[in-house]
Structures are given as C-alpha cells and as structure tokens.
Amino acid sequence: MENKIDFTVLDQAISEFGTEKKALIAILQRAQEVYRYLPAEIFPYIAEKLDIPEAGIYGVATFYENFSLEKKGKYVIKICDGTACHVRKSTAILDAMRKELGLSESKKTTDDFIFTVETVSCLGACSSAPAIMVNDEIYPTMTPDSAVELLKSIKEKENV
C-alpha cells in the first residue's frame, strides 16, 4: 500500500451520521469523497462500528455506480452519454480522451492515478450537450479537440 488509510475520516463521518444501519451510505459517500474510492481496509472497520457484515457493505458498495472499489485518479472525468450528448457525438470525445491518456473500456485510470475517464448516463446538463464533468465541474459543449486541450492544461498544472 502506498499510503496508509486515515481512519479519522471514518470516525468523523460516524460521529456525524451515527451508527444506525441507515448511516451506511452517507459514511461510504464520505469515504469515497476523501479517498476517491472505497479501500478494502475500511470495510472491517465500518462493519464493526455499524454492526453490519462486510458482505452486506460490499453488496451496497457494488450496487451503486457511484461507489468504486478501485482507486481513481485525482481528476475523475465523466463523459455524458445520455441521449442529448450522444446524438451530439459524445462518443468521439470519449475516444479522443482515451487515446490521449492511453485508456480503454477496461482500463479507466492512468497508472499515475492522475486521470480516470468514465461515462455516465446523464449529467443533467442536456442544454449544454455534449457535456463532460471533471470532478465537480461541468464543461459544456465540448469537442474532441477542446477535450484534449483540457487534458493538456491539467497535465501542465500537474507537471506530468
């Protein structure tokens, strides 16, 4: 493991949301937010605090698309493939970004954990189609070229 898991994040989430079963999703969301994925190490910890079997937490974590069991990049890029974006050629944007970063359908995160590229079914930004989202920010009316430009500017910022 390259870095140790900081369990104080979980303690804080647990004191905020409580230890009832209904708090599980909120706690997992917080963990996902901080760690950018759900590390396996947090499962036994949450299981004990909330008295939910690990298999049950695994069930919740694999049910929701928003949770990831794999470590994601610092920049999570979501390319909208909803109807509006799709008909305005979002696929070409996806292809261009994957090509630029050497990613594919099965390999979603770069080896240096800077970028993760994935598709979503709708970002709710249909009027700005085709749209992409980088972490929490929406980028409207993209083209393959402007998407690659965006990647390059992030790379510059990150010195990679």
Binding site: A40, F43, I52, P53, E54, A55, G56, I57, Y58, G59, T62, F63, L69
Partner: protein, 557 residues
C-alpha cells in the same frame, strides 16, 4: 368476533391469523409454487412464483399480501400459468442445465417446478459468464451457475444465524450471491453450519461430499474401517428411505453400514456419555473456583467457529471438552494404534467436516476422524450400495461400546446436553427425579430457553440457545452484565435434529425430538455415570490420558 373469509378459487377460507395470503391458500389445500418463501425467514417477494389474480384481474404476490376479509382470489388462471411458465423459462435460461450430473438431481425445486409446469424448451440462449465453483470450504460448495437469486441463503445466514458471510452483490443482470470482495468461503465469516444448503432450492449450495474417499477405504482390504453414528441421525434418515420421519432406525443404520463393508460400527452416544462426565467435572471445578463462569458447551463445531471468529473474548468460558465425535475418534485411534485404520463419522452436521480437519485433531499427520459423512451423504451411499433400507433387520452396535445411556442420546436435540449434565450434577438419582429434571424448561424447540435450578445454597442460572442468532442474543445479555452459570449453544435452530447435514424435516422437527426422547426412555441406562462401559473405558483405555484424548484448545480466527 364474526368469522372472516377470503374466497380462494370460489371456496371460502376462514382467516385465522395468517400473516399472508400464501399461508391461507395452502390451508385451502392448494400448493402455490414458491422459491423464496420460507416461513422462518423474512418475506422477500423476489421469485414472483406465488402470484395470484384478484377479482379485478390484476396480480398480487401471495407471500407479501396480508389476507383481508372479502378478498376474492384465483390461483390458477390462464394469465397466471403463462406468467409462471415465463418466469421458469427465464430462470432456466441462465441456469446450468446439467441436471443428470447435479448433486441435487431429483431434489431440486427448479427441476420440480419446471416439470410441474411442463416447460418443454427454453427459447433463450444462456449468456451467463462461466464461473468457477467455490470449493474452498470443507463444509459447503457454492456454484453460482445454478443460483436463481432467491436470497434464501442470504436471509438464513444473516437473519437466523447472524453470521453474514454472504449477501447480494452487484446489480441487475450482474447480481450474484457473494462473500465480501468475492473471497473464498473459507476466508469469510462462514462457520459451516450448512443452514444455507438446507434452504437452497437448487444445486447452487450443496454439501461437500467425501463419499469417494470413504468408498476407497471400504474397498481396500488392508484397511480397518470403523464408523460412529451421531444421535440425531437415527431419527432423520428414515424419511428418505421409506420409513417415517422421527422413527428411530439406529438398528437399520448399523445393519446398512455393516453391509457396506465397515468392520466396526459404534454409537457416538457413548462418547456423549464421556462428554457428560468430563464437562460435569469441569463445571463442578468452575463452580467451586468461581472462575470462567458461565461454562458454555463445546459440542457444536459451528458454534465453536462462530466464537473463534466473532467472540474470542468468550473462549475461556467454553468447555475444553472435545465434541463427542472427536472423543470417540481419539479413543478409537488410541485403541487401533497398530493397524491401518480409517475412521468415519456419520453426522447430522456439515460443520463437523471442518472440525475433523482442525489441526488439534490431527496426530502425526493422521486425522482422528478421516472422513465425515452427513446424514444426506449416508442416504446417497446406501442408495448407491443397492441396499433396500426399509427391509433391513436391525442390528446392534459393536462391543465394547454397546451400552449407551439415554443422557447421551438426547445430545441430538436442543436442551439435551443441559439435561444430560443436570442428571449427573443432581445428587438425587431416583427415577422420579428424572421426570423432574425433564420438566425444567430445557425441552422444546424455542430458540432461547432459561431456567434456574437449586444447587447447594444458591440457584444455578441456565440458558439454552439454538440458532446462532439466538445465541448472539444471549451473549449480548451476558456482556451487558447478566449472570449465567451454564449456557448450551447449538448453531442449528432446534439442535442437531435440524442440522445442516440432515434431510429437510419439512417443519416436522418435533417428530425427531419425540424420537430421541423415546430412545432415551427406552434406554437401560439413563445417566452417563451409570453406563458400565464408561468406567471400563476410563480404567482400560483412557487411563491417565483424559486430558490428551478428551480435551482441546481454541484460538481466535
């Protein structure tokens, strides 16, 4: 109050506290098909086979609809039949269809209903990805390709047993039953109780079979084969072999095992008597010293594993006595030191397979119990042998262990170990005291039973729990500060009679209880300490090795 009725297929059926339409319809003599409904589990409503049509032509799931006065429902209409056939066909589409080589062939609900509903072909290709069987556990085997996602195993494991080894994972067409992170079952919290296998309607969860190694030993004339039969097996095996459920067929089992080729056949009841002796001694010592009370029983290997995985803080409270199976095995191995000897235990239990493989019970690379055969496994072997069980003449077990006590035989039912120990603890050895001791509150199939019994200047507080979920409730009370002196825990609801290795009792566990209590009544000796074989064993075989042969240790897992 005025009587209330639901009209089922034109017949008025009285509502009498039924929780759902399904129970009511079954009362009317109609067998509604189900996969995911078990009265002891929560209602899940997933399989949709129990749909019924109401008077307005719409469909409702009978399992999750409470009966209301004046309802008019139909259980067999064109719409329903088509609907059920469709579900079956879709289930079969993704299901492995190698029925002839499936462990559950002829004992599978999916196969059964496919036949009942005349499914004559499946229009859809099987697109399910190929998955490897999980054979990591010595107790159970999981085959995802035969799973219909009814969730019975998940609810059994979580609700009744409080183990939580498995749950649903992923979503939609990718959904599977999985341990956390898809780990092998042996690395999960699974305790091997086998209750998931008992409720699985298909071959997705089956028992780990050791039949082949047993046949190998039986066919090898240079090997001496011995076998022991646990108390609960004798009242559960008959049902599948043409005898009534609950009838004690010990004599027939002995005869069958001899015909199959076993050289010596013994009764685990004898070593249950040994357990009573050792455990009572331990109990008396702890009562005197006041240390490590309550004493918690140790016969049940699924409970032991549960404690090792979830409650390591209780390990000092658990009796150090080996289970009757292991006591019998270590004594037999000690007696047959100089020959090539293969020992088989016939058990109502799947967790015994794990117990037999524990390193504490392997001496110089040799397992004390070489193979464990469940009751279901024995049924298979008897059928394979071509023996017509119902026609067998009963035979007696072999010397020198032919006398067993009634105290040992009731180990197979929840409360039995407690009663057996109390018979030894109680100083009143009269026949009438046996009756008094029978009615303290330890008998019956309730999940948690508690009572007090006077002992010297104080009362002993005793709890009996069966089903690990119930055990957990008692443990939590204990940890909240409540005092107990003796706790009996059996992992399977109702005790070994309802063990994971037993054929389904179809809710008739009581017949098996009655069978065992009857066997106790018919015993020449009712108390373990009055069994002459026991004194003889201590004198001639065990000698000063009681600790080495009859006790063990536990560790956190």
């Amino acid at each position: 109050m005025e009587k209330q009725f639901v009209t089922v297929d034109g017949i008025p059926v009285e509502i009498n506290g039924e929780k759902n339409l399904l129970e009511l319809i079954r009362k009317a003599g109609i067998q509604i098909p189900t996969f995911c409904y078990h009265s002891e589990l929560s209602v899940y409503g997933a399989c949709r086979m129990c749909m019924v049509e109401n008077e307005w032509g719409s469909l409702e799931a009978a399992c999750s609809t409470p009966p209301k006065a004046g309802m008019k429902i139909k259980t067999n209409t064109e719409k329903l039949r088509k609907y059920r056939k469709n579900i079956l066909e879709l289930l079969l589409a993704n299901h492995c269809r190698d029925c002839t080589v499936c462990e559950k062939n002829n004992d599978c609900k999916l196969q059964d209903l496919a036949r009942v509903f005349h499914i004559e072909g499946v229009r859809f290709p099987n697109n399910a990805p190929e998955v490897k069987k999980d054979e990591s556990s010595p107790c159970i085997v999981k085959d995802q390709s035969k799973c219909i996602l009814c969730g019975d195993c998940v609810r059994m494991c979580n609700e009744v047993q409080n183990v939580g080894a498995i749950d649903f994972a992923f979503r939609g067409s990718k959904m599977v039953i999985s341990t956390a992170f898809g780990k092998p079952i042996k690395d999960s919290p699974c305790v091997g109780c086998g209750q998931c296998v008992s409720v699985c309607p298909t071959g997705a969860l089956v028992l780990h079979s050791e039949a082949e190694v047993i046949w190998d030993a039986l066919h090898d004339s240079s090997v001496k084969t011995t076998v022991q039969i646990a108390p609960a097996v004798r009242v559960a095996i008959g049902k599948e072999l043409g005898v009534k459920n609950g009838k004690n067929v010990m004599g027939k089992i002995v005869a069958a095992l001899r015909r199959m080729g076993f050289d010596e056949v013994y009764d685990t009841t004898l070593s249950a008597d040994l357990t009573v002796m050792e455990e009572t001694k331990e109990f008396a010592e702890r009562l005197q010293s006041g240390k490590n009370l309550p004493l918690i029983t140790s016969c049940c290997p699924a409970w032991i594993q549960y404690a090792e995985k979830k409650h390591p803080e209780l390990l000092d409270n658990i009796s150090s006595c080996r289970s009757p199976m292991q006591m019998m095995a270590s004594v037999l191995k000690e007696m047959n030191k100089d020959v090539k000897h293969f020992h088989v235990a016939v058990m109502p239990c799947t967790a015994k397979k794990f117990e037999a493989a524990r390193e504490e019970f392997i001496v110089d690379g040799d397992k004390n119990v070489d193979a464990v055969l469940t009751t279901k496994g024995l049924i298979r072997l008897i059928r394979e042998s071509g023996i017509i069980f119902e026609e067998l003449e009963p035979e007696a077990v072999d010397m020198p262990f032919s006398t067993v006590s009634g105290a040992g035989v009731i180990f197979g039912v929840t409360g039995g170990v407690t009663e057996a120990v109390l018979r030894k603890v109680s100083e009143d050895k009269t026949r009438s005291n046996l009756l008094t001791l029978a009615n303290l509150g330890q008998r019956g199939s309730e999940g948690i039973k508690e009572f007090e019994i006077p002992f010297g200047e104080r009362n002993l507080k005793i709890a009996v729990a069966s089903g690990l979920g119930n055990a957990e409730k008692v443990i939590r009370r204990l940890q909240a500060g409540e005092q107990f002196d003796f706790i009996e825990i059996m992992a399977c609801p109702g005790g070994c009679v309802n063990g994971g290795g037993q054929p389904s009792a179809n809710k008739d566990i009581n017949a098996r209880n009655v069978g065992l209590y009857q066997a106790d009544k018919n015993s020449v000796v009712r108390r373990a300490e009055e069994n002459p074989v026991i004194a003889d064993l201590y004198k001639n075989v065990i000698k000063d090795k009681a600790h080495e042969l009859l006790h063990t240790t536990y560790r956190k897992r």
